[in-house]
Symmetry: C2
């Protein structure tokens, strides 16, 4: 009976609010083909930055073409929840064509860029050449293995949906194999998970993995002693969450320890093979799993350009976000290198979004023959969550921790997700997991 | 504001009902390891039938081991909705270990059975040998290509999650490629979809695909003339839905025609290559897509047994569902061949579920030394949906069509899904799609 009451409540709410929303959604459906004769703006990358450029150019006298190798936008900040069986991949992905329905002058093409010919103002893609008048490169970043070939080959990354699903499948397979493994040492290795990198991704993933094991899998595997299971977080620097205040760094570390994560700072992962991870200080950790969250770098398109690069292989840009010698080319987000108040801008979503806004504005100004605006970053604050009821948040001198910071983290991430359906699905999952100490998506797909 | 009101309504409902449910869910968490000394019942297959046996043996004096090659139960009747971007695969899959938490004497092992050694009462699996005292084979069915190699290689099946996701990716890729294809004939082939088989799967898939194209993709591809797009449903017999009453067959055909599906009865797909599908009457249909829903057969384990087989390669069983020469072995569901009132029992979920119930009962009786019960099928009625507001339902002499049958179809499928979270996610998707004429999961994964 209880179930039926909830279902009818839900259905009631959906229908009530839904009909009102229909109007709003329907209005966007008239999607006239883009007009010709306008300058052609090509945007490479459907992440936070590229998407923002295309959306903000709605109504501008420009023919906008957005290119991405995937047909969806992926909400990267929640990839770690896909990897820990909390969310289905579809909940954090959204079709780009759907997003662009609101922009009649924007089109989409699914293609992978192979080369940028700056002189000819042309892109070479796996779907043929594409000419542009203005180009916005927003192709983002990829995992940085710092040239370590064994780590590149044997570790799991967390930079896109396929990687997140592969990691989820691997973690669950480790438990399946452990449950049938009579050898104690091999079983212990299967149940040991090493996470390299104590930034937000590493911290959030390690906390979520520890909770998956202690709150959920412990009931799935009554035959396994999950006290054997270990999650180790290895950070090269002296503290976790290097960008945050020391009090919050300590809070994050305390919360992780409480959840059963072993944290090692000032430690480097040097090598990995089929049996173990090797630290720089000689420590050998027997394990079948290394998750690499220790660095990102610009995608390879940066090198192709032949223009000066900054740290992390990022493309150096002018304060207007243009290339110095090619004012018709803009580079934004993780792919761009720009200093602000002395330091390089971080490779995070808020930078990409704000730069996307500015580039859309600057392209409008270029078309209108007006002088361009310079980029200035407004820090919206930093946050990271460690698990149930535990997060840290910093904005200027404001510092929050614990339940309040956690609710804030949930709210901000829910609101930033693209698409109301996705927000609803994520909300259902989060509420479910919170109430029932569950992770519903613990499926091993594509075995 | 409307969105926030819905969100709070939802959250309110979830928390209200959720706390009550917590008690129910928590109670199951004490999962003691199975006791020794009891006879060992091995169940092969975590589909409708196998799962039911394991669940119904809860509390019996038996040590139950369920084996499946996947770690999840898949709700096959909704696979066509995964293939048409209406549902995420995770919404119709549920972790088997979670289901078995309610059965302290049941365990799970992820393994693929390679051979059954009836004489030694032993299974050979990719994870090593497994002994049994009683064996229940519920390994289901696979696509039947009737020995046609080109069709087996080039067509898309709809029998498991991986196939459904592969088909979804292919359909969406066809539209992406068509949007960039200047050649008219090639574009037309990309936008032509041939479905072979007019049973429930073919009918439901064809209807859902037509709606995906006419209601959703038409807005995604303003540059494509989707009047060019064709969905053809090819049925070898004289009518769709052979098992249903003629009036409902006509209704299904009428509803499909109205949605723009071209239906051809008395037509056979004979061959397929990279460019076209060839019918037996000489018709050539230029297309890049053949979906094969024209037949299923028992999985290969049936042949391995060396016992007599019935139609569709199914294993002949006694009315008690035992093998004639091996009373300790039961075969159920799609894998079993049994006649009832003159005809073979159909390969559908209700048969598997009812047989699962009976086998659990018969194993209890065997253990207790009591005589066994014979299987008798109670037909719960047949149904199929064609799309929005359109379905057919038949129960005895009762015949329903249109909206009422459709609501019934929705309700029955929602209630049959395993797991409350999955029901909620499916409900959210259905309500969303219905209100907004949308299909949110139109993502091309694993490109």
């Amino acid at each position: 009976m209880q179930i039926r009451r909830i279902v009818s409540l839900l259905l009631g709410g959906l229908i009530a609010g839904g009909t009102a929303l229909v109007m709003r959604e329907r209005r966007r459906d008239t999607n006239a083909p883009a007009l010709r004769g306008w300058p052609r703006v090509v945007v490479v990358g459907g992440g936070f930055g590229g998407l923002r450029v295309a959306q903000k150019l709605a109504g501008a006298p420009a023919d906008v073409l957005l290119i991405d190798r995937h047909n969806y936008h992926c909400f990267q900040p929640l990839l770690y929840q896909v990897a820990t069986a909390a969310l289905e991949p579809e909940a954090i992905a959204y079709p780009i064509r759907r997003i662009l329905r609101g922009s009649p002058n924007a089109r989409f093409r699914m293609a992978a860029v192979q080369r940028v010919c700056l002189e000819e103002r042309k892109l070479l893609t796996d779907e043929g050449p594409i000419d542009y008048d203005y180009l916005v490169l927003a192709a983002g970043s990829t995992t940085n293995y710092f040239g370590n070939q064994p780590i590149a080959e044997r570790s799991f990354g967390l930079k896109n949906l396929d990687e997140a699903v592969a990691l989820r499948n691997h973690i669950l397979e480790c438990f399946e194999r452990a449950s049938a493994e009579p050898d104690e040492a091999r079983r212990a290795a299967l149940l040991t998970f090493v996470v390299a990198g104590g930034g937000p991704t590493g911290v959030e993933f390690a906390g979520a993995l520890a909770e998956l094991i202690r709150l959920v899998l412990v009931h799935d595997y009554p035959g396994l002693d999950l006290k054997e299971a270990r999650v180790l977080l290895i950070e090269g620097g002296p503290a976790l969450l290097a960008a945050m205040a020391p009090s919050l760094q300590k809070e994050a570390q305390r919360a992780l320890l409480q959840k059963g994560v072993e944290v090692r700072v000032n430690a480097q992962v040097k090598d990995v093979d089929a049996e173990a991870v090797y630290l720089a200080d000689g420590t050998v950790i027997r394990t079948n799993t290394l998750v690499w969250a220790a660095g990102v770098r610009a995608t390879d398109i940066a090198k192709e350009l032949g223009t000066p690069l900054g740290k992390g292989g990022r493309v150096r840009v002018e304060p207007t976000l243009q290339l110095a010698d090619h004012p018709e080319v803009f580079v934004i987000g993780d792919l761009a290198y720009l200093e602000d108040k002395g330091g390089a801008l971080p490779m995070i979503a808020p930078v990409a979004i704000q730069q996307g806004n500015l580039v859309a504005e600057n392209i409008r100004r270029l078309i209108a023959g007006q002088p361009l605006a310079r980029f200035s970053y407004r820090d919206p604050g930093k946050m990271a969550t460690v698990g149930r009821n535990a997060a840290v948040f910093e904005y200027g001198r404001l510092r929050l921790r614990g339940f309040l910071a956690w609710v804030m983290w949930l709210t901000v991430h829910l609101m930033q997700l693209v698409g109301f359906r996705n927000r609803l699905v994520v909300l259902v999952n989060w509420a479910w997991d919170y109430l029932f100490f569950d992770r519903a998506v613990r499926l091993i797909s594509q075995r």
